[in-house]
């Protein structure tokens, strides 16, 4: 089963050749930096070579405001390490996803909270401009709404405004339910086809755009198949522990498992998503956290006091 998270792709596998893992603990959260160093490791994980930083905060859903600000700050720090440091650098932030479908609306909601400045550069006096870098932003919608591949919209605009970097924000599908709304992933590898909650997205990468692309993703759903699959796995584990008779379940062929799951979920046409009942509140709060981290990383010259509005 595929996952948008490098950390899940890595699994509990311990040391993997061609992959460097670095961990750090904060107050209520953990940061894991995974570097996929070569093509072989990339093939094994199903993730292109590059840096993947994951911020995990199991307590995010408790709606603890202090924790949310700490996560936002951690995000700002990790982003700063991936973004160019020049005061003259210019950015184009793209909020991917469908604003009409709550679990897919994270990207547009982040864009809504960004400090957009590209058009102000000419009006803002130089002494205030200190720390204010050029930021443009757009939520381009999804193919079903526009009839245009998101990648084409982004490429067209990039060719007009020539930013130094694209930052793409997207809602992801996770492998495990406990990742929903508790994890933020940053990657310097861009967005690859098939990621995100909407699954037919075109690539948004340095290859397709000609400039670096940093991707920020937050899992908001798990595919319903995952629940069925995990149930089988949990059963197999239980049975292996306690019974000769059921040993074989652990060896049940993949194909057979898929058939079973199909039997459970087939009657419902289309993609079934598992998402918390309170998803709307979580998306709003996570968008605030991500936008806060982004604003701080994009405008490093603006101090804490001035940043406070962002949390409103």
């Amino acid at each position: 089963m595929r996952t948008d998270l490098a950390l899940e792709a890595l699994g509990g596998a311990g040391q993997v050749p061609g992959v460097r893992v670095e961990e750090e603990r904060g107050d209520g959260y953990a940061v894991t930096r995974v570097a996929v160093l070569d093509q072989e490791a990339a093939g094994r994980l199903g993730k292109p070579p590059g840096r993947y930083v994951t911020i995990e905060a199991p307590g995010f859903r408790t709606r603890d405001r202090g924790l949310q600000e700490r996560i936002s700050n951690a995000l700002a720090r990790e982003l700063a390490a991936m973004l160019p440091s020049e005061a003259s650098a210019s950015f184009f932030v793209v909020g991917l996803g469908n604003w009409n479908a709550t679990p897919d609306a994270l990207g547009p909601e982040v864009v809504h909270r960004l400090l957009v400045t590209r058009h102000l550069k000419d009006y803002v006096p130089p002494d205030l401009r200190n720390g204010l870098r050029s930021v443009a932003a757009l939520a381009p919608g999804v193919l079903g709404l526009t009839g245009i591949e998101t990648g084409d919209i982004i490429r067209g605009i990039v060719q007009q405004i020539r930013p130094d970097m694209v930052i793409a924000v997207d809602a992801l599908a996770a492998r495990n339910v406990d990742r929903i709304m508790t994890t933020i992933q940053i990657a310097d590898t861009g967005i690859h086809p098939g990621s995100g909650v909407g699954n037919h997205r075109a690539a948004v990468t340095q290859e397709t755009l000609g400039i670096p692309v940093v991707a920020i993703g937050v899992p908001t759903v798990v595919h319903a198949q995952t629940i069925a699959y995990d149930t089988l796995d949990a059963l197999a584990r239980t049975l292996q522990d306690r019974s000769e008779l059921f040993r074989a379940l652990g060896q049940m062929p993949e194909q057979e498992k898929r058939r079973l799951i199909g039997e459970v979920l087939a009657p419902a046409v289309g993609d079934l998503m598992v998402t918390p009942k309170e998803i709307d509140v979580f998306v709003e709060e996570m968008a605030t956290v991500v936008a806060g981290g982004l604003n701080a990383a994009l405008h490093p010259g603006i101090d804490d006091v001035d940043l406070s509005p962002i949390f409103a």
Copy 2:
């Protein structure tokens, strides 16, 4: 596992004492009228005595406009049989649920599309008033938003405006994924605690309000536990067919199944819901269908031509 649908509670059980079942087929949909006739049958089904009408349209999600209008008409006919027929009858329609959470927003969305007339009675000339009955409507929100039990809000307003009947519209949780957005249930028994997508609702019934309550419900979600539970059942069926070794799974104690499912879903705090990715579009279209049926049943004197606006 509990379900909000009488038809699911009945299962494939064939004839049940104290329950009368009547079926009718339409073009693209089926109507089933279940009458729970006595307390014994009610206890067995977990549904109070009364009439439960279910309209099933597996093709609803194909977004076929013609089918949607036929379902709307069928709903109008079935409602007409439960509503008082007097031209002087007055109604209070309550849209239950949380407008901020898409799968729970059906009730508020229906209220938004209703032909509300109670305040017009004094202004509309008598010849136009023909067929226009008195309709008031409110979406009272949920306990977490108002701090007030929904039942208390409704009772308070009923005592002020003294309608002849309350009609409560609500999003339901189904037992099977194929019921999501394909089924409408009408019941003359009102709303009972624990129904709906939000699960702490107070009773809205003739007992609590002193006037008849008709409930209209549409399943918009399935609880995630259901997926896990169904996976185990499907596995048990498969294994029983083909293997001596796995016979015992069919006899796995209920308690053990629950423990397993807990293992899969526990890490995610709170209620996980399974819902289609396109839920926003479905809720909008289903609200149009339900409001269309309601408007026609509430104002039987208004002919087709005048009703067309309702579909906008």
Copy 3:
């Protein structure tokens, strides 16, 4: 021309018998406390006897976050003087107006940001409950949406939940364009028919509900007639000064006309649509300020740190 603001009704009239006026300056805002002491004064002003507190902050529209917090704190202080001080006091906040019409949506937007607690009282441990008073809240909509007089909805709910006080939040129509989104009025006299942006509202007062009603209002519009009226007044003033010269008004130079219009519209900076073009942003920000002040006044035991989330 009528106005919802006592301060405008008072005009620049200096001392008026039966009216006590008290002024106080803050950083970026001014507080004026008007007490209408007897029926005679009430008749003269068209405002029932009672206390009217006005907070004026001409800079509100500059979107200065610091100023907004100071206004919110000032509002909390002024409200505290009107609200009961008992820890056991219970409140019902009503957000009047139509959420579909931006300039009329202030009340519903404030309710959306309130710390609603009435339903938590049973769950919150006593030591945390310290300072958390019972607050219920509802945005009942308008007559055209529900078919029910707003006053009836409120009265019905008050009879069910028996709060000690109703607080009604409403958008107002001002007399002068420079009051739009720069003024907050608090009154202990409740809401009287004909106030607000929607003009057919029923009374929400101690007389109709049996408990005290505090009204919080913010002007969001000016009636278009006002603009024309003001134009004539300005013209008349000009002509009285120099009436010989301008006898033939038909020959008044274009330039002079523009100057005149400037005199009428100058106090309101920018593009005035009579409701400002940016009304949506202003309503959002003003709702945050009002909800912040209300939350602080309703829950005086909660300190600043805990209140910060309210600004999100």
Copy 4:
């Protein structure tokens, strides 16, 4: 005073050299086709040479559904005369304006209701494709939201997807209050800087994009200055007639002032906030009418029955 409407620029001027005017009456509406034939006429009107079609329906605000459908059909016919007729023609519809500010949200609301097909071309079977032309659509937001000139976004996308024509939908500012939400203008001249409710828009024309641009505009506001200006004009007209009597304008009776104001505001029935209080409902309904006309003109091969969904 400038206006976005060619018909208003023309005034009641009767025959103007270099301008051809053609009128046609429908049931409840009138169509006026103005052709600006040369640069001299263009300079006189402040409108570039081209075709300007205006549909006027004073009764639009009565919310008569039948009238709305007739207007939608008239719009479809007039558009058909400006659009290429080839079945292979491809279109890019741009909804200009700010979705957060109701009177400026018309463009985005129209885009939301469009039959977008560009991405379906590969999946739809050829026999169904009959009449389904390639349509892409985007609401790019405004400079303050994105930091990018709208013209740059459009040009970038046009260069990627190479449509045969751009159709830009925009909310306009009218000169007279009675035009608000009663008039639709179609022009084959594109969008010129300074038009629209937001007034700093870049040009979207054949010159800037290299392909034809049709603009559809609907007045949703009048500038507040207009009201004051009109008041003076009305006053001046009155005085010229009877200047002896009213020499001392300062003594003009109250009653007379009211009559004057009535003369200014009478054409717009009801409470004018200069944008009407019910602007939200009008924008929704006008967006439905415009999208209906657009969908019919863009997909001429789809018959009436299939078009009905568009009105939902």
